[in-house]
């Protein structure tokens, strides 16, 4: 489908808006265009008019990246408990219950095995709608088990981050997930199994400061906020306003912390190619010389 045909539809559809029930139409956060919700869904929440990337749920992310019908969820039964019996203005338990209801997920991470353009991968995805995609014990455990599955199966690991960082309500247990996941990645690294880290808006705090920044290749979606401290905290610290685009994907790429910024709809193909480059079946171990030799001999033989 061309870019133009994607644009046309929502614009002409506006006229009949009042006849359609609520929730079918969505407004683009960026260009404010009114878009038919189904079309936004079909486009994985990328605005067909301006290309803005809206938040994508973890389930949809898996639909985007993993071949249809091949995803096998793992560790879906893991659920948070409340080690600190934490309570602020709300009980932590109630916050979890609300997020469960809102997202239909058990926790902020979904993990499993599947095929990416026919290549077997182990994958974990954070969902920002579940308490800000925060890294609690369950997400930390699921990510670590994903890495461990990679270690056993020798299949590449893919982790998709979209998170505000550590989960305060789990206190020190949450902080330690940073060490747990990073340590597992150290082992993966030693075994030379590829790890692609994909960053979707936003990735900050304890998630950016652990597995998200440790990819062999780090890919970011356009304009995602990526950093350790949030912009508000930085502005309060330095008492000045941050420039436009600060900590965004493109900025992070310019500063050397992200390999490439890739639009959502091109992610799967790009990642599959990267996997081939890192661990594809094509023999690239032959020295160039002998390759030339064989061509030469083939020629002379002909």
């Amino acid at each position: 489908m061309s870019w133009f045909s994607k644009v046309k539809k929502p614009l002409e559809a506006i006229t009949s808006r009042d006849k359609i029930p609520e929730g079918i139409w969505k407004k683009c956060d960026e260009c404010k265009a009114i878009i038919y919700g189904q079309e936004l869904d079909n486009n994985f929440q990328v605005c067909p008019k301006c290309g803005h990337h809206h938040r994508l749920s973890a389930r949809e992310r898996i639909r985007l990246l993993i071949d249809e019908g091949t995803f096998q969820e793992k560790d879906g039964e893991l659920a948070p408990n409340d080690p600190l019996k934490f309570r602020d203005s709300k009980k932590y338990k109630d916050r979890i219950a609300e997020s469960k209801k809102k997202t239909g997920l058990n926790e902020s991470a979904i993990s499993g095995s599947g095929l990416m353009c026919n290549r077997p991968v182990e994958i974990a995805v954070l969902d920002f709608d579940f308490i800000g995609g925060t890294l609690g014990s369950v997400a930390g455990e699921k990510i670590t088990r994903t890495i461990e599955r990679s270690i056993r199966s020798r299949h590449p690991a893919i982790i998709v981050s979209s998170s505000g960082g550590a989960r305060m309500q789990e206190g020190i247990f949450s902080l330690m997930q940073m060490a747990k996941t990073s340590s597992a990645l150290g082992e993966l690294d030693e075994l030379k199994i590829p790890f692609i880290s994909l960053l979707a808006h936003p990735v900050t705090g304890g998630v950016s400061a652990s597995f998200a920044m440790l990819g062999d290749v780090i890919i970011a979606e356009p304009k995602a906020l990526i950093g350790f401290a949030g912009p508000r905290v930085i502005e309060e610290t330095i008492r000045e306003q941050l420039p436009e685009g600060f900590q965004r994907s493109e900025f992070m790429m310019d500063h050397g912390f992200v390999d490439m910024v890739v639009p959502r709809l091109e992610l799967k193909e790009t990642m599959a190619k990267l996997l081939d480059h890192m661990c594809g079946a094509i023999a690239c171990l032959l020295p160039l010389e002998s390759k030339e030799d064989s061509t030469d001999s083939a020629k002379s033989g002909a």
Partner: protein, 317 residues
Amino acid sequence: MKQSVIEFERPIAELESKLEELTELARRDKVDFSSEISNIKRKVKKMRRDIFLNLAPLQRAQLARHPMRPHTLDYIDHMTTDFLEMRGDRLFGNDKSIVGGFCNLESRTVMIIGQQKGRDTKENLARNFGMANPEGYRKAQRLMKLAEKFNRPIITLIDTKGAFPGKGAEERGQAEAIARSLLEMSRLTVPVVCVVIGEGGSGGALAIGVGNRVLMMEYSVYSVISPEGCAAILWKSADKAPEAAKALRMTAPDLLEFGIVDEVVKEPLGGAHKDFKAAASILRRALRRNLDELARMSPQELVRQRRKKFRKMGSFV
């Protein structure tokens, strides 16, 4: 030396200054106040014990960041000999909020690395209040690898509010620096003992905290976020810091109970700031004991033990 005093220390401080006055008076006027003096001394001791036995979590956090508390260089001074500071990350600069270098701890050469806070404004500005930039963490990584190369154990002293949330820090990859630190520490082939000596603030603390053993000084705290920061976010009011401090379970006994730290190192009565020498000597003995135990492990065992230790952390059903 004029010491700054936390709110809950005030009654003790007042009694102590009364004691000083009385002693001075007795000396000057040659009057015998000895019974009053010993009476007050007893009172001070009792008051200190009572107050310190019943510290609220936020009070412990305040104690952990007490400006008079011994900092990394104080411990290095009192525990070790022949410390030679090594500087710079070989990439960008030398971050003074993290110090490190080889030294001798009893009969061993060790690499010691720690966050360094200042005591007054001038020193704090130079040390950036103990909040490291990426180059600080990269220096720490460099020194750890240096220690590994020459088969020397590593001691880290944790004392930071957190990694510095500045503009340059972000431009130079604060997140990457911390993440890389976690990964590299997890696979060091030499013994690593980490000690939270004051404030263990979030990822900036953990970045030098992946050890075979993790110890906490009695009045130190270790948390995913400061009580003030947590109160501002979850309670939407900084006044709720006492509640947040309680809810976060950030004190040394809490973390020992959770199995996150291996040992709580006793401090002299009234806190380490009352007696640097005593505090340092207790810590030195604890470090020695832990290093003795770890010295029996092979490089592979050290890596395996450290990985397993952090692998187990988490609480879920």
